[in-house]
Symmetry: C2
Subunit: 211 residues, 2 copies
């Protein structure tokens, strides 16, 4: 039977392993795609419209918001960012899942949007703060002040762990990866993801009445 | 982390393969147990109290119902049948799942009971009415009148497929078995089944504040 796609929300503080896990998931199923955000900020060198972002004007963005065409949106440093509903609605109608790498505020908005029945929300927790700090430091990209800011932001994100469908403590990457695959495989089987069930039951009914 | 157990409701018309599937699940995980029903009917030869049924008086049964100690109950041919809450609540607190082989009316009652947050409801549909009929006939136990009654009852059950978390069409036993295992494995990971998550986050918070 054809299935509907899922809106798979992956939230976590940075350093909890989300990017590695998302990469592993896409290797497991290459039909999985991250939702492409719309933004009002200017493209940077090398960024491709429709791939990295949909680059839109502030007027166009605000119109999409008031038309309820944004699943979630936020303003960051004067620029708007959001997840346009159209491409996501098309994907799930075609049976393709869409990954969302968003924070708890975006997750809350999507979980109350018109597509909420197809949302699967997963939060990845670090095993410890020490380990989270170690992972941020070991990237070697940031000075200690930036790392401290990231730590504060990470804690703010962690404090909103509650309310997700699944919360996984990533103390072993292979285990967490397996769990994510099990969860996604199961959630794809949910009755709400199987639009053809009603047809099957109608066929059974016809068969029952025509005996 | 310790986990909570699930109340796993398996409903289906007779002949859809539920007993075979339940047997396979218990082979896969021998901690799975069917909930033992309470009944006011007299024990039959060989039936063991506490194993086949809890045999209780009508007064005791009605008291349990009014004390909300029955997760679901029904009256059938003058006898009461029900699922006592105590043993189920104990099992899920200990992290053991409990299987319920009940019809749609029992499923609805359990899904609105005080343990509803831990319910996983699954409906098994037959691939066709012809196949359902074939399976009922091939048992060789019943005359054609009894089979017709069973078919009517099966259709009544099928017509209440909607409202279950998962609805599986059992056209291949091995596939359905794998799907059930995937679903149960995933649902065990749900945040609502992980009572220790809150402790983990508290530990993270202490660690964050004590840096």
């Amino acid at each position: 039977m054809a299935r509907r796609g899922l809106l798979i929300i992956l939230s976590s503080p940075s350093g909890a392993g989300k990017s590695t896990l998302a990469k592993a998931l896409r290797k497991w199923d290459d039909t999985l795609r991250f939702s492409v955000s719309a933004t009002t900020r200017a493209p940077r060198a090398g960024e491709v419209d429709g791939q990295d972002y949909y680059f839109v004007t502030e007027d166009a963005f605000k119109r999409q918001v008031s038309d309820k065409d944004m699943l979630e949106h936020a303003r960051v440093f004067g620029n708007y960012y959001g997840s346009p509903k159209g491409p996501v609605a098309d994907a799930i109608e075609d049976g393709r899942d869409v990954l969302f790498d968003i924070d708890w505020q975006g997750a809350q908005q999507i979980s109350t949007s018109s597509l909420k029945d197809h949302v699967l929300s997963i939060f990845i927790l670090p095993p410890s703060i020490t380990e989270l700090h170690r992972r941020l430091v070991s990237r070697g990209q940031d000075d200690s002040e930036t790392i401290e800011k990231r730590m504060q932001k990470s804690w703010d994100e962690i404090s909103h762990w509650d309310g997700y469908d699944y919360v996984l403590v990533n103390d072993d990457l292979a285990t967490t990866e397996e769990r994510l695959k099990t969860i996604i495989s199961a959630e794809r089987l949910r009755a709400s993801q199987q639009p053809d069930l009603m047809d099957h039951v109608r066929t059974l009914q016809d068969e029952f009445e025509d005996r």
